[in-house]
């Protein structure tokens, strides 16, 4: 299979309620490449990402993974893809480690405790390991969600505003992580409203909707 | 012919309340349904027309 178009989108259209958000959207993302989805509030970024994950049905058009429509190869696709939305998917009653354990289990994978702990500490959660996530701060909960993302080491990351609530250090960290991920042949589709420093990365920008976005570093 | 007189008919051998009660409510229900249906159909058309003009402008 052509390594340079693992994920491809053909004539995609998306409607929410009455409103047609976008149509005739075409793009393809290859290994080691990042797609940065940009657009103003309410232009349809989240909706697009949910289409890509297969959670929502497109109004028209098709999404292909390794050449096959994702509806056909659902299991394969979901095994290689991981999604982080506006909601963290973090259980308030569990502590970070337990959260990661079950996240892994639900992906049908075994759980490597040491690796998980390293990841959490790497994300600066060392002192929160045994606190229920309920008491964690907004940004700390976001960090837990990110570590679940890293633990999964999937090929394709789909990130909806991964930086919300993260402080500057965490943002820098995150940029580094994305770079490594791409360098190791991974792919990422992400939206963000914040400046993101991604030099040395093959970035493809996609503007959703009609609100122009001033070029960001 | 079953009935000696109209009053006899309405009386239904003492069961008038029950029989006519049933028929009356049934008639009412059907009437209401039809009326509501006509109204909603009419309103839908009108609303769509308005939206269309609004979209065109």
């Amino acid at each position: 299979m052509p390594d340079d178009a693992l994920l491809s989108v053909h004539d995609l259209a998306c409607a929410r309620g009455e409103r047609l958000l976008f149509k005739d959207m075409n793009f393809s993302v290859g290994a080691g490449e990042m797609l940065l989805v940009q657009g103003g509030n309410g232009q349809g970024k989240t909706s697009l990402l949910r289409l890509l994950t297969g959670l929502a049905r497109p109004e028209a058009g098709e999404i292909r993974w390794r050449g096959e429509p994702i509806r056909q190869c659902r299991d394969l696709f979901h095994a290689e893809m991981i999604y982080l939305g506006h909601a963290n998917g973090v259980k308030d009653d569990l502590d970070p480690i337990e959260n990661l354990r079950f996240a892994e289990g639900l992906q049908g994978r075994a759980f490597e405790r040491e690796r998980a702990i390293d990841l959490l500490q790497g994300l600066g959660l060392a002192r929160c390991l045994d606190l229920p996530c309920r008491v964690l701060s907004f940004g700390q909960r976001r960090r837990v969600a990110l570590s679940a993302l890293l633990l999964a080491d999937a090929k394709l990351w789909i990130l909806d505003e991964p930086l919300t609530g993260l402080d500057v250090h965490a943002v820098a960290l995150m940029e580094g992580l994305i770079r490594d991920h791409l360098a190791s042949g991974g792919m990422a589709v992400a939206t963000t409203h914040q400046a993101l420093n991604l030099e040395g990365v093959r970035v493809q920008r996609l503007l959703v909707g009609n609100v122009a976005i001033p070029e960001m570093a | 012919m079953e009935w000696a007189s109209w009053s006899d008919f309405w009386d239904m051998g003492g069961y008038g309340l029950y029989v006519w009660g049933s028929y009356a409510v049934t008639a009412a229900c059907i009437l209401i349904e039809v009326i509501l249906l006509r109204r909603s159909a009419f309103q839908t058309r009108r609303r769509l027309k308005r939206m269309q003009q609004w979209e065109e402008t």
Partner: protein, 222 residues
């Protein structure tokens, strides 16, 4: 696959253990409803014995219905449900696992409490035995059907009560067979027939409900 089912189970059990509160309240609700009745109806022993099985069955039904509304709601809310549905494993397994967990968490305790309440309504021992048995067969049905309801009403406000409205009529056969079994004992006509019908209904539900629930879940997440 096995691991996935196990993970779902362990996860829900852990969460339930964390919120021992919610768990307690369901049990308490069962006791309360069952005990409210003598208060509302009056204390004559034989009358209570007559209505006992029915009351206990209805109480058990309502008790586990209460918790059903939250079967998927919490996970949906904090986004983890999406992650589960996005896992490579089939969604049916997910639904099955969650229904099963619900039964273990909320169904089993009812079985343990029921005899005590049975004594309150001075039921005979074999009546209580049959009651236990009928509940053992009946409660999983509710958990399974409830899965469908919970998936359908996912993210709707007042989902809890809507769920009751959707599920209870479907659940009536179980109620009838179950309570009927105990009445059968009391009336001396035996309970086998009812119990076997109840079992058949359970198997049928087990075969059908998870698939519909899975489909409903995907629909609700769109």
């Amino acid at each position: 696959m096995g691991r996935f089912l196990l993970a779902v189970l362990r996860r829900d059990l852990t969460l339930a253990a964390r919120r021992r509160g919610d768990w307690l309240i369901a049990q308490f609700f069962f006791v309360m409803v069952a005990s409210l009745f003598p208060l509302g109806v009056g204390p004559e022993p034989n009358m209570l014995a007559r209505i006992g099985p029915g009351v206990l069955w209805v109480a058990a039904t309502l008790a586990s219905l209460l918790s059903l509304s939250r079967l998927f709601a919490d996970d949906h809310h904090d986004g983890s449900l999406e992650h589960m549905v996005l896992s490579p494993e089939p969604t049916v397994l997910l639904v099955l696992g969650k229904s099963l967990a619900h039964w273990l968490i909320y169904g089993i305790p009812l079985l343990l409490i029921a005899p005590v309440l049975g004594i309150q309504f001075n039921l005979s021992w074999e009546a209580i035995l049959i009651l236990e048995f009928s509940l053992l067969l009946g409660t999983p049905i509710l958990s399974l059907l409830g899965g469908v309801g919970a998936a359908l009403t996912l993210g709707l406000r007042g989902g809890g009560v809507l769920l009751t409205l959707l599920i209870l009529p479907l659940y009536v056969p179980a109620l009838i067979f179950g309570a009927g079994a105990v009445d059968g004992v009391l009336a001396g006509t035996g309970a086998e027939a009812h119990l076997s019908l109840l079992g058949a209904f359970l198997i049928l539900t087990l075969l059908i409900a998870p698939w519909i629930a899975a489909a409903a879940l995907r629909v609700s997440l769109e």
